[in-house]
């Protein structure tokens, strides 16, 4: 019931941080990795965001596509790596494509433009990289910072969907037209592919279809492996070795998305181990404590101001604004608490008065999250 976040991550081999954009997923991932490295484990954090400030906080110039070791004055090891989509895709093609299609794929114009910008390719690359790191057995823990997406399932589904798309009968029909010639039960397709191609060509231009067919037939040589690894990743993520952490900020809309992530990831299957809510206004007075005569406050101000009363008024106004934020944050958190079963911890971090840009800031966040855990 009162499982601490520290205990949760201590037992895992894979921790995946999911959540909407701009909620501090990358920072949270780094903080979790730091915590486990401090405990003596060999940890790698795989990030999507090229956040320079966070790289600097880890003592790195910037994040790169290869694993870099972070200097720590402690027992464990901390490595950091950024997901380089293009490199990741090229690597897959280099590694798995048969000799005769390798160059054809790498040089295909559709591949060049779309390997990094197709919907879901970022998720696919993340999943591929995760598989690689896990299989290498080099790390005790992999912390993965996922692409910002409002569709939590994208990450899990990406390998699947890419495989499905390419395996779909419709696409095979384009690059293996003979397979379907004259088959029954395929609606317009039975009329002969040339008719459909003619209509589609009207829409897209025949040239685009041709390029696409070349791309597909070359890329199809990769599909078996692609699907196999996708399946392995899904299996890995459904075992006790892995957990998902939903990261959010206390804004009501963002929390709504966080709850949505929880549902989509499989509320019943214990997939989500915890929520981490960043930037909670957890300081200052409540609004009702601020309804006091200004004179008391101005009398307490030691400094000489041209107009003490006006300063006192501003201080009260400012405190009231933050009291409003505090009450908004906590009522939104309570609402989330009401929707999530009690055994899933909802841990929160205070809104810091400065950004995390050095080791000290990162340690402060680590302390707040693990040693001084606060939850709703």
């Amino acid at each position: 019931m009162n499982r601490k976040l520290a205990d949760l991550v201590a037992k895992k081999k894979v921790v995946i941080c999911v959540g909407s954009g701009g909620v501090g997923k990358t920072t949270t991932s780094a903080v979790i990795a730091l915590q486990e490295a401090r405990r003596g484990r060999r940890v790698i954090v795989l990030t999507i965001d090229p956040a320079k400030r966070l790289a600097n906080a880890l003592g790195l110039e910037s994040f790169t596509g290869t694993a870099q070791k972070v200097e720590l004055e402690m027992a464990g090891e901390l490595w950091a790596m950024m997901l380089d989509m293009k490199a990741c895709f090229d690597e897959v093609v280099q590694t798995y494509a048969p000799d005769e299609t390798r160059d054809e794929i790498l040089n295909n114009r559709i591949y060049k433009y779309f390997s990094t910008s197709l919907a879901g390719t970022q998720e696919y690359a993340a999943s591929e990289r995760l598989y690689q790191l896990y299989e290498s057995g080099e790390y005790d823990l992999i912390v993965l910072d996922t692409p910002p997406t409002t569709h939590a399932l994208d990450f899990l589904d990406a390998p699947n969907r890419l495989g499905d798309a390419v395996n779909s009968r419709a696409l095979q029909w384009l690059y293996k037209p003979t397979v379907f010639a004259g088959k029954k039960g395929m609606g317009v397709f039975s009329m002969g592919t040339s008719y459909v191609v003619k209509i589609l060509s009207k829409l897209t231009g025949a040239q685009l279809l041709d390029e696409f067919a070349v791309f597909l037939s070359a890329f199809s040589t990769l599909f078996d492996g692609l699907q196999e690894r996708g399946k392995a990743v899904r299996e890995l993520l459904s075992t006790d070795e892995s957990t998902f952490i939903v990261v959010s900020i206390p804004d009501p809309l963002t929390l709504k998305e966080a709850a949505f992530f929880y549902d989509k990831l499989g509320a019943d299957k214990n997939t989500v181990g915890a929520f981490v809510i960043n930037r909670v206004h957890d300081f200052g007075l409540d609004a009702d404590e601020l309804d006091r005569p200004l004179v008391n406050i101005s009398a307490r101000l030691n400094e000489e101001f041209s107009d003490k009363k006006s300063t006192a008024r501003k201080l009260v106004e400012n405190a009231k604004e933050y009291a409003l934020l505090k009450s908004r944050d906590f009522s939104a958190l309570q609402e989330l608490r009401g929707q999530i079963p009690g055994y899933v911890p909802i841990v929160f971090l205070p809104y810091f008065d400065r950004d995390i840009h050095n080791a000290e800031g990162l340690e402060r966040a680590r302390y707040e999250l693990f040693d001084n855990e606060k939850r709703v």
Binding site: G22, P50, V166, K202, T204, Q207, E211, G284, N318, A319
Partner: protein, 322 residues
């Protein structure tokens, strides 16, 4: 009077454009800014279409309407809103291209063809952008263009870039056919700074600024210029310079009311200092005119607040107008 001159010698007036797009990092308030801008257009008497691109609709909620979908919804005088999905845009595009409904039905309502179309990379973006193009430059009513201005709440940076890039990608892959011609026309519109305006919404925080810079550079490569940077949620400073000294120092634990007040004030001061640092960074990295929209402690969730933002925006924009 400040008189801004653009590279091409024309002065900048967003209200003279036909197509005005807003992009930026996810979560910076693009929808708020785009909606407020559309409201200011409508208020000036322009027939305005606010177009959402495959969005989880929030505008409907703010305006006390049902969620906005593919059907045009009137939000107020001169102000209309639509939320385009790839499926609806593709359907409209196919119908317009093929002209014959029966062929459309036979071919496009076939499940296999549908899944095939969904798998063609970039087609969603192309038809969505094509829809914006259609509203901004083609759609007529009584012999005149139907809309005076089309305001697009564009997807966040990554997808936003891809959306604006797609015409160039298409024209570089193919060199003939319907889609090629469409892409050519869209490219022309996007590159025409008299017609089109791209604006970036950001917060005064490092990641949104980095992404803004990235967006600016990617658009530059596409020969698309960026007009304004809209800085959203800018924290105001209520304290005067001589009050500054009580705000110095670390936020100590508060044990009296006054200390609590000082703690809250110091917190704000720290955030303000940080904000100034990021404003300097923004000024250094992105040399564009800036519009500043204040932070609302109560959150932005109703029409009145949007009205307020819309007016502040209009005031700042029209000082550039003359």
């Amino acid at each position: 009077m400040v008189f801004y001159v653009l590279r091409n010698g024309a002065h900048l007036n967003l209200y003279e454009k036909r197509l005005v797009l807003f992009s930026g990092k996810g979560g910076v308030g693009k929808t708020t800014i785009a909606t407020a801008f559309a409201m200011s257009c409508a208020q000036r008497g322009m027939k305005t279409l606010l177009m959402q691109i495959n969005a989880k609709d929030r505008i409907g909620e703010i305006f006390d309407r049902n969620p906005i979908g593919e059907e045009l919804v009137e939000l107020g005088p001169n102000l209309f809103c639509v939320n385009s999905t790839p499926a609806s845009a593709l359907r409209e595009y196919a119908l317009m291209t093929l002209k014959i409904k029966i062929i459309y039905r036979a071919v496009f309502e076939n499940k296999i063809v549908q899944s095939f179309l969904n798998a063609i990379p970039g087609i969603s973006e192309l038809v969505l952008l094509g829809k914006a193009y259609y509203h901004a430059a083609v759609e007529k009513k009584g012999g005149e263009l139907k809309w005076d201005i089309v305001v697009v709440d564009a997807p966040a940076t990554g997808h936003g870039i891809f959306l604006l890039k797609i015409p160039s990608v298409v024209t570089s892959i193919i060199d003939s056919g319907h889609m090629f011609e469409e892409a050519e026309r869209m490219k022309e519109l996007l590159e025409d700074s008299n017609m089109t305006s791209i604006n970036i919404v950001t917060l005064l925080e490092d990641l949104p600024i980095n992404e803004s810079q990235m967006l600016l550079e990617s658009l530059g490569e596409l020969n698309i210029s960026v007009d304004y940077i809209f800085m959203n949620r800018v924290l105001e400073n209520p304290f005067s310079a001589d009050e500054g000294n009580i705000l110095e120092g670390d936020s100590a634990k508060a044990d009296s009311i006054t200390d609590s007040l000082l703690l809250a004030a110091r917190f704000r001061k720290s955030r303000l200092d940080l904000q100034n640092k990021y404003l300097d960074l923004l000024k250094e990295k992105i040399k564009r005119r800036r519009i500043s929209i204040p932070y609302f402690f109560e959150g932005v969730n109703n029409q009145g607040q949007l009205e307020d933002i819309s007016q502040r925006m209009q005031k700042q924009l029209s000082s550039d107008e003359q």
